[in-house]
């Protein structure tokens, strides 16, 4: 029977077990925290590079959104449940959804920004971009099914937590109908 302090010492020894030497040489420590501290410059560098690439992706995405919105303008969308004359048998449920997330660097900046409160403009931009994308996907599906009007459209936003990252899901759904021409 071991005494409690012996057990504690054993536990401490086990926790202080060193990582192999090559691991320490490569990462500069034997725990995740050591790695972050001793490679601070590299960590910040990767974060900044991610941020720059993310800004570039954002601009590219906005351009592609504008380009894809233009040919889908003939599909009319509204929130009313009433509809004028339309063909029966063509009504279907249409769904468009997308999951978007920020890069880690911006998430960190936002965490600091949140201390003050107020409008968090990076997130505003993110959800607006996501909602446009969801609406475009809905309209693309409408185009595929040959309907030209979407009525009673609803939007939903949900926070999705993955195992490692937190993202936002935007969904748009509505009833597609074919108007008589």
């Amino acid at each position: 029977m071991k005494k409690p302090d012996e057990l504690v010492r054993e536990f401490e020894q086990r926790m202080a077990t060193k990582a192999p030497e090559w691991f320490q040489d490569w990462f500069g420590g034997n725990t995740l925290w050591d790695m972050l501290v001793s490679n601070g410059l590299q960590v910040i560098g990767i974060g900044l590079a991610g941020w720059l690439i993310a800004s570039w992706f954002e601009r590219r995405h906005l351009r592609s959104l504008s380009a894809r919105e233009a040919p889908l303008q003939h599909i009319r969308v509204n929130t009313s449940k009433r509809h004028s004359s339309c063909e029966p048998e063509a009504s279907t449920l249409l769904i468009g959804s997308v999951v978007v997330a920020h890069d880690y660097f911006r998430t960190f900046i936002i965490a600091i920004r949140r201390l003050i409160g107020g409008n968090i403009s990076p997130y505003e931009r993110l959800v607006q971009r996501g909602r446009r994308e969801a609406l475009i996907r809905l309209k693309e599906e409408a185009d595929l099914r040959g309907v030209d009007k979407v009525i009673n459209i609803r939007f939903g936003t949900t926070a999705i937590s993955g195992r490692f990252l937190h993202a936002v899901e935007m969904v748009a759904y509505g009833t597609g109908i074919r108007t008589r021409r």
Partner: protein, 105 residues
């Protein structure tokens, strides 16, 4: 099976309401997709793995709802609503519910 999220089916008369039908599913992705999402998180943007997960889940939920409606002998499902909730890391619950109806003969 006609599915709409308005109170009727355009151009049809509803003769009988058969009551609530619903379908739900809780889906997760394998660890590989989560690791992929971790690396995608470095640059942000759309997380394709999770988009896929939710689209598949919603299809599954709708097919379960449709099965239930078929077992009731319905012709259509009207007034469909959807909810999504994050249950735990890497898993989401998708639920779809509506009213099963029968048309005039």
């Amino acid at each position: 099976m006609i599915i709409t999220n308005i109170e009727q089916v355009p151009g049809k008369t509803i003769a009988q309401e058969l009551g609530l039908v619903q379908g739900s599913t809780v889906r997760g992705k394998h660890l590989g997709k989560d690791i992929g999402a971790f690396f995608k998180g470095l640059v942000g943007g759309e997380i394709k793995g999770y988009s896929e997960l939710l689209v598949e889940g919603r299809e599954e939920a709708i097919s379960r709802m449709t099965e239930e409606a078929e077992s009731l002998g319905a012709d259509a499902i009207v007034n469909v609503r959807m909810t999504t909730s994050s249950i735990t890391g890497g898993a989401a619950e998708l639920m779809v519910y509506g009213t099963a109806v029968k048309f005039d003969l």
